[in-house]
C-alpha cells in the first residue's frame, strides 16, 4: 500500500491521508459556509471561525480514539468536527434549532457531545485545561488508557487555569496533552504584546513537562508531534505541551473589522499558508493519492454543507418551555 515517504509524516496509509484531507476540508467548508451564512443575519450570537487552523485539529485528533476526550475553546468547530461530532447537528445548533447538537441551548460557544468525547467548546478562555486533568484522572483511576487533550489559544495560555493545569497534570502524572494554538492574536492583541514575545514551549519546563513547537499549517508536522505526545500520555509516561504556530483567516469573531491587522495580511496568508494546499501538493507529488480523489472530497464536503444548512434552516425551533429543562438531573 503506497505511503508518504518523508519520515516526519509517519507511515500514513492512503485511507489515512484521504481521511486527513477530508477532515480538514470539511472543517474549512463548514467555516467558509458559516462566514457566508452569518452575513445573511440568520445565525444568532457570537461565531468564531477556525478557518486556516484546520491542520491542528485534524493532526491531533487523528491520534484519538472515540473514548478519548478533547476540551475545546470558543473557536471550537474544528475540534468538534475532528472529534467526530455530527456536522449537520452542529450546523443546526448554530442556527439555534431543536434539532441542534445541544437542542439550541448551547450554540457555537458551547457545542459539545460527550458521547463523542467532545467536552465542549468553551466561552471561558482557559476553561478547558482543568477539565482534561479530570478526564486524565478518570483514566488513571479506572486504569483505562484513555487520553485527554485540551486546546488553548496563545491568549488563553496566559490564563492561570491553563498554567495550573500543566502543574497538576505533571504532579498527578496524567495522560493529557495540552495544545496551544498560537494564531497570532488574542482578539485584537498580538502575542508580541500579551506574552512579551516568549517561547511558549518553554512554559512546559517550569512544570517538568516536555514542550515542543511545530508549524500549525503543516498537517504532517502537527501529526507527528501530536502522535508522540499522545503515545506518551497513553503509555502512562505523562503529559506534554504542544505549541502550534498558525494564523486565522477571519476576524476574531464574525463582524470583526480587523483594524488591528495589516492591510494585506490575510490575503497574503491565504496565498502562502494554506494547510489544505500544502497537504494536497505533498501527497499528490508523492503519488500517494490522485488529484481526483481530493476533488471528490471537496465536492462531497460542499454538498454536505448545502444539506447541513438547508436542514438547519428547515429545523424546528425549540419549544419556549424547553428553557426550563435540563438544569438538573433531578431537583
Amino acid at each position: 500500500m503506497p505511503t508518504v515517504a518523508p519520515p516526519e509524516t509517519g507511515q500514513l496509509t492512503r485511507e489515512q491521508l484521504l481521511e486527513a484531507y477530508r477532515m480538514m476540508r470539511t472543517i474549512r467548508e463548514f467555516e467558509e459556509r458559516l462566514h457566508t451564512e452569518f452575513a445573511t443575519g440568520e445565525i444568532p450570537g457570537f461565531v468564531h471561525l477556525y478557518a486556516g487552523e484546520e491542520a491542528i485539529a485534524a493532526g491531533v485528533c487523528a491520534h484519538l480514539r472515540p473514548d478519548d476526550y478533547v476540551a475545546s475553546t470558543h473557536r471550537g468547530h474544528g475540534h468538534a468536527i475532528a472529534k467526530g461530532c455530527d456536522v449537520k447537528a452542529m450546523m443546526a445548533e448554530l442556527y439555534g434549532r431543536d434539532t441542534g447538537l445541544c437542542h439550541g441551548k448551547g450554540g457555537s460557544m458551547h457545542i459539545a457531545d460527550l458521547a463523542k468525547g467532545m467536552l465542549g467548546a468553551n466561552g471561558i478562555v482557559g476553561g478547558g485545561p482543568p477539565l482534561v486533568c479530570g478526564v486524565g484522572l478518570t483514566a488513571r483511576v479506572k486504569q483505562t488508557d484513555q487520553v485527554a487533550v485540551s486546546f488553548t489559544g496563545d491568549g488563553g495560555s496566559n490564563q492561570g487555569t491553563f498554567l495550573e493545569s500543566l502543574n497538576l497534570a505533571a504532579c498527578w502524572n496524567l495522560p493529557c496533552v495540552f495544545v496551544i494554538e498560537d494564531n497570532g492574536y488574542a482578539e485584537s492583541t498580538p502575542p508580541a504584546f500579551h506574552q512579551a514575545g516568549v517561547d511558549l514551549a518553554k512554559r512546559a519546563d517550569g512544570f517538568g513537562l516536555p514542550g515542543v513547537e511545530v508549524d500549525g499549517f503543516e498537517f504532517f508536522a502537527v501529526h507527528e508531534a501530536a502522535g508522540e505526545a499522545v503515545r506518551r500520555a497513553r503509555s502512562g509516561a505523562g503529559a506534554s505541551l504542544l505549541v502550534c504556530k498558525v494564523m486565522r483567516y477571519y476576524g476574531h469573531f464574525e463582524g470583526d473589522q480587523q483594524t488591528y491587522r495589516g492591510a494585506d495580511e490575510v490575503k497574503e496568508l491565504r496565498r502562502t499558508r494554506d494547510c489544505l494546499e500544502a497537504f494536497a501538493r505533498r501527497v499528490t507529488e508523492a503519488g500517494a493519492v490522485e488529484e481526483s480523489d481530493l476533488a471528490e472530497i471537496d465536492a462531497a464536503a460542499r454538498a454536505l454543507m448545502d444539506e447541513a444548512v438547508a436542514e438547519a434552516k428547515a429545523g424546528p425551533a425549540p419549544a419556549a418551555d424547553e428553557a426550563l429543562t435540563d438544569v438538573y438531573v433531578k431537583y
Binding site: 444568532p44 450570537g45 457570537f46 439555534g96 434549532r97 441542534g100 445541544c102 439550541g104 441551548k105 448551547g106 450554540g107 460557544m109 458551547h110 468553551n122 466561552g123 471561558i124 478562555v125 482557559g126 491568549g155 488563553g156 496566559n158 490564563q159 492561570g160 487555569t161 492574536y185 488574542a186 482578539e187 485584537s188 492583541t189 498580538p190 508580541a192 504584546f193 500579551h194 506574552q195 480587523q258 483594524t259 488591528y260 491587522r261 495589516g262 495580511e265 425551533a317 425549540p318 419549544a319 419556549a320 418551555d321 424547553e322 428553557a323 426550563l324 438544569v327
Partner: protein, 341 residues
C-alpha cells in the same frame, strides 16, 4: 448643555473627561486599547465593542491592553488603587468573574476593614452584563447580586445614558471599590446627556415615573421594560410608580419605602436569577420595614432558576418581558385590600 448620545458614548465620554481631569486615572483590560503595538494600531479597537475607542491615543501610556489574566490585572487594579492611582479595569463580561473574584472580594473589598481603616482602594471595574444578544450561558448573566452580597464593594447598574455617565464619573471619584455594570443591550440606546462632567450620588434612587397604585422597582434593562408595561397599564387605569435604585450597594431603601407607603403595593423586576437576588433583597426589606403599608403581597418578577439559553426562542422566554411585568402588576393592583381612591 444636553444632547442625545448613546449609553456607550456616555461611558466613553465619562472616561475621557475623568482621565482629562485626573492624571491618576488609568484604564486597562483586554483589548481596551485593542491592538496596541499591532499593525493597525492607529485604528485600534477600543474594547471588544468599541466602548473605550479613542482613549488609547488621547491618553498615551494610560490605556493598556492586558493579557488574558484577569486575576493578575484585576488584582493589579487593587494594588494600584492602594498605592496612588485610580484604575478603571475592564472585566469584559461579568460572567468572567470566576477567574478573578478573589482579588475583588477578598482583596480590594476587604483592605480597608482588615487594615483597621488605614487603606483606601479607589478602583472601578467596568463590566458587561445581561441577556439579549444570544451570547448564551457564559456571556449573558446578571450576577450583580453576588457583588451586592459582598461588604466593602459598591455596585452601580445604570439604565440610561444620563445615569451611565453620571454614575461612572462618581465611581471613578469614589474612594471605595466600585463594580460598574453596563448592560450590553443598552449600549445603543440614546438619551439626553449634558456635555460637561457631572457625578450622580450613589444610593439615590431615580423615580422614573410617578404613580399612585403600584410601586415597580426595576434595574438596568428592566427599567425600560417596566416603563413600557406602565404605559400599557395606564390604559387599564393602573398607575405605576417606577423606582430605579441605580446602585444596589448602597441601596436607597428610603425612596422605595416612601413609594410603598404611598402605593401599598410592590413589584420588583430583576433580570438576575431568582435565588438570593435583588428581587428577594428588596421584597424582603420592604416586607420587614413597611409591612403595615402593604395592601398586597410583594411580587418578584425575575429570570427563572436556569442558565441563560442560546436559541432566540429560549432566551426570549428566559428574560422577563413587558407582558410578564404587566401581568404581575395587574395581579398586585387587584390583590388584597382595595386601594384607597
Amino acid at each position: 448643555m444636553a444632547r442625545e448620545i448613546t449609553y456607550q458614548t456616555a461611558i466613553n465620554e465619562a472616561l475621557a473627561q475623568e482621565m482629562e481631569r485626573d492624571p491618576t486615572v488609568v484604564v486597562f483590560g483586554e483589548d481596551v486599547a485593542g491592538g496596541m503595538e499591532a499593525p493597525g494600531e492607529d485604528d485600534a479597537w477600543g474594547g471588544v465593542l468599541g466602548v473605550t475607542k479613542g482613549l488609547y491615543h488621547q491618553f498615551p501610556g494610560r490605556v493598556l491592553d492586558t493579557p488574558i489574566s484577569e486575576s493578575a490585572y484585576v488584582g493589579a487594579a487593587a494594588g494600584a488603587a492602594a498605592s496612588g492611582l485610580r484604575p478603571v479595569a475592564e472585566l469584559m463580561f461579568v460572567d468572567f468573574m470566576g477567574v478573578c473574584l478573589d482579588q475583588i472580594f477578598n482583596q480590594a473589598a476587604k483592605f480597608r476593614y482588615m487594615f483597621g481603616g488605614k487603606a483606601k482602594t479607589p478602583m472601578v471595574i467596568r463590566t458587561m452584563w445581561g441577556a439579549g444578544i444570544r451570547a448564551a450561558s457564559q456571556h449573558s448573566q446578571a450576577l450583580y447580586p453576588v457583588f451586592t452580597h459582598i461588604p466593602g464593594l459598591k455596585v452601580a447598574v445604570p439604565a440610561t445614558p444620563y445615569d451611565a455617565k453620571g454614575l461612572l464619573i462618581a465611581a471613578i471619584r469614589d474612594d471605595d471599590p466600585v463594580i460598574f455594570f453596563e448592560h450590553k443591550v443598552l449600549y445603543d440606546t440614546k438619551g439626553d446627556v449634558p456635555e460637561e462632567p457631572y457625578a450622580l450620588p450613589f444610593g439615590e434612587a431615580n423615580i422614573v415615573r410617578e404613580g399612585g397604585d403600584v410601586t415597580v422597582v426595576a434595574l438596568g434593562r428592566m427599567v425600560l421594560f417596566a416603563q413600557e408595561a406602565a404605559e400599557a397599564l395606564e390604559g387599564e387605569g393602573i398607575d405605576c410608580e417606577i423606582v430605579d435604585p441605580r446602585t444596589t450597594s448602597p441601596l436607597d431603601e428610603d425612596t422605595i419605602l416612601e413609594s410603598v407607603e404611598n402605593t401599598g403595593r410592590l413589584v420588583v423586576v430583576d433580570e438576575a436569577s431568582p435565588r438570593c437576588g435583588m428581587a428577594c433583597d428588596i421584597a424582603a426589606r420592604v416586607a420587614q420595614e413597611a409591612f403595615a403599608d402593604l395592601k398586597a403581597p410583594p411580587r418578584m418578577v425575575t429570570a427563572p432558576h436556569t442558565p441563560v439559553p442560546f436559541s432566540p426562542v429560549l432566551e426570549d422566554a428566559y428574560v422577563p418581558t413587558v407582558e410578564s411585568i404587566a401581568a404581575a402588576v395587574r395581579e398586585t393592583a387587584g390583590a388584597g385590600a382595595p386601594s384607597v381612591a
